[in-house]
Symmetry: C2
Subunit: 350 residues, 2 copies
């Protein structure tokens, strides 16, 4: 067995297992199933960093009191087109699906709808929520904020987060188009992966623990922002337009090293646009397919095998993994098995 | 006199001059003054690429019938929280200030407000419009779309636009924070500047006319997207969530080489969030200043003189240039003087 050995599991088995685990630590069946669906979706899409590998950490966060398994989520502000949803430290998938659902409802009545989600926890793969909207013929934009884990441009330490942005729109025969990107030049998961495999990093990807640029995967400590001031600035604006509006600042608390700043906390922003209010939806869908087709006909760059649109690779991987199962690294499976034993939950069949 | 010689002019003289020019080509005094204010603002902020250097091109666009100097702008869709504003080929500053004004009004009544702006023309510096909102205590996000001028990731030709994104929020004593960034790794203006000065480009900035990567400023033809698939994907999503929703596709028309695709056309997206509906605005302002202060205290990277937040350098430049005047390149002044002579408008004093 090599370090790259994998175990294949069906999405359904994995969902059932993860649901059982989160039920065991106190979540309702519905909430546990939502968390399971969002995490397993990331594995189906090939985004392992946001998949079930996070389960042990989520369980720790429940034990530490950072994730509230029985949140009393409530709408604090309710305007014609927006809500401020206090998530009461719910698991991110529970809070963000609720937020996006409310944003879609507001958009249906007001043309555009916004849910500001306060005090959620790890929001998982943001594309899940924007795709929820796109599947219903609604365009969506989502942002999420976490604590500083990325260098701020001009500094040698973490100052902002890799705060992601996701935008999704409905499509035609080719399906929705969904972008889900972090504001770092590379995902943290990619640095971890390079460390495991010993692959040198590209210049401009990371700083070491002393704040110096490094290409040594073992020394890489924090990622650099996408395009320097652009990624750092975009990340900061996401904090300002989300965390500060919901009165739950993350960056300042951590940089000032307050007690609150050491806690696991996140905030989210979910915007929905009911495009059928502005145009003919069937025409819109055809136009999405049309521009995608036009891009795919462009002459290829040297070495480029294919021209892809946002979310296309993930959709292909999902189709394949729904059929053939999800390959999980043996290390992840072992960790989940240990957790299952500890919590007295039956392990999934492999 | 060197190629770098500049002529200094006050903002007020420049605004008067540009207003007179656009009045002469048929705009109302109000519209001409709006265009002048937006262009001169870019020069005040140090963003010469979006300043009065654009005036001759705008005049050409009026002559070609692409900019309509007497637009009959009208709201086509009006929902509780959103409008679709058909700009009837108005000058971008006229359409976008109107759009942002409407988005702010909707946000005041509905919490969030959206204006989708159809069939505008060159939107100029997007930060002007988000800052309009921020000055009134409202957070804003704006997008704009134009024709393909940037390589799509994986292709060797232009496939998408350098479509910018701007986000602004009100601040406290330090003033608003405003990000205004293109989705290209560098602005087109920077490539032009490098060509003029013969400065080699960084790798990853541009392709030559044959679609091969180049660092030769004379050979640089199109910019590459910020972070490869990220910038290309973000640009595409901006087209999909803006141009396609307002039924005025730009990218597909150009890539398919239709007659419409050869015309100068843009679309815009202006979103406003009335943050006072969700939190205490004075506290919000203090929190913005607080996080900015925390970032500025971070240890500096080697070679970094200062840690800046989005829009800070522009605000400093504006304060200095409002006092000392705007230095314009002699070439720009000569071009404006020729235009003034041709149109029979008095040149500004230098």
């Amino acid at each position: 067995m090599t370090a790259n050995a994998t175990v294949t599991v069906t999405a359904e088995s994995l969902r059932r297992f993860v649901t059982a685990l989160f039920t065991r630590v106190g979540m309702s069946d519905t909430h546990a199933a939502t968390v399971a669906d969002v995490l397993v979706w990331a594995d189906l899409r090939g985004v392992a960093s946001h998949g079930v590998t996070r389960v042990p950490r989520y369980v720790e966060l429940v034990a530490a009191g950072d994730i509230n398994p029985r949140p009393a989520m409530q709408v604090r502000t309710d305007t014609r087109a927006a809500v401020l949803l206090d998530a009461d430290r719910a698991a991110g998938p529970v809070a963000m699906t609720d937020g996006m659902r409310r944003a879609i409802e507001k958009a249906r009545s007001a043309g555009v709808g916004l849910a500001l989600v306060r005090a959620t926890t790890h929001t998982a793969a943001l594309g899940y929520y924007t795709l929820m909207a796109a599947r219903e013929g609604v365009a969506a934009l989502a942002l999420s904020c976490s604590w500083p884990n990325m260098a701020y441009h001009g500094s040698r330490v973490a100052g902002v987060s890799t705060n992601p942005i996701s935008i999704a729109v409905p499509g035609g025969d080719r399906g929705p188009v969904v972008l889900d990107m972090a504001t770092g030049v590379v995902a943290l998961g990619k640095l971890v992966q390079a460390r495991k495999t010993g692959t040198p990093l590209a210049p401009g990807w990371a700083l070491d623990a002393h704040g110096n640029p490094t290409t040594d995967p073992a020394a890489a400590h924090i990622p650099l922002p996408l395009g320097g001031p652009k990624g750092a600035g975009l990340s900061l604006m996401i904090e300002l337009i989300t965390s500060l509006v919901v009165s739950n600042p993350l960056v300042a608390e951590t940089l000032e090293d307050t007690a609150l700043g050491q806690r696991h906390r996140q905030n989210g922003f979910a915007l929905a646009v009911d495009i059928a209010r502005f145009c003919d939806l069937p025409t819109y869908r055809r136009e999405v397919d049309r521009v995608v087709a036009a891009l795919k006909r462009l002459p290829r760059a040297d070495g480029a095998v294919d021209i892809l649109v946002p979310g296309e690779r993930g959709a292909r991987t999902l189709a394949q993994r729904e059929r053939d199962g999800i390959p999980l690294p043996r290390a992840t499976v072992d960790e989940l098995a240990a957790l299952a034993t500890r919590l007295g939950v039956a392990m999934f069949a492999t």
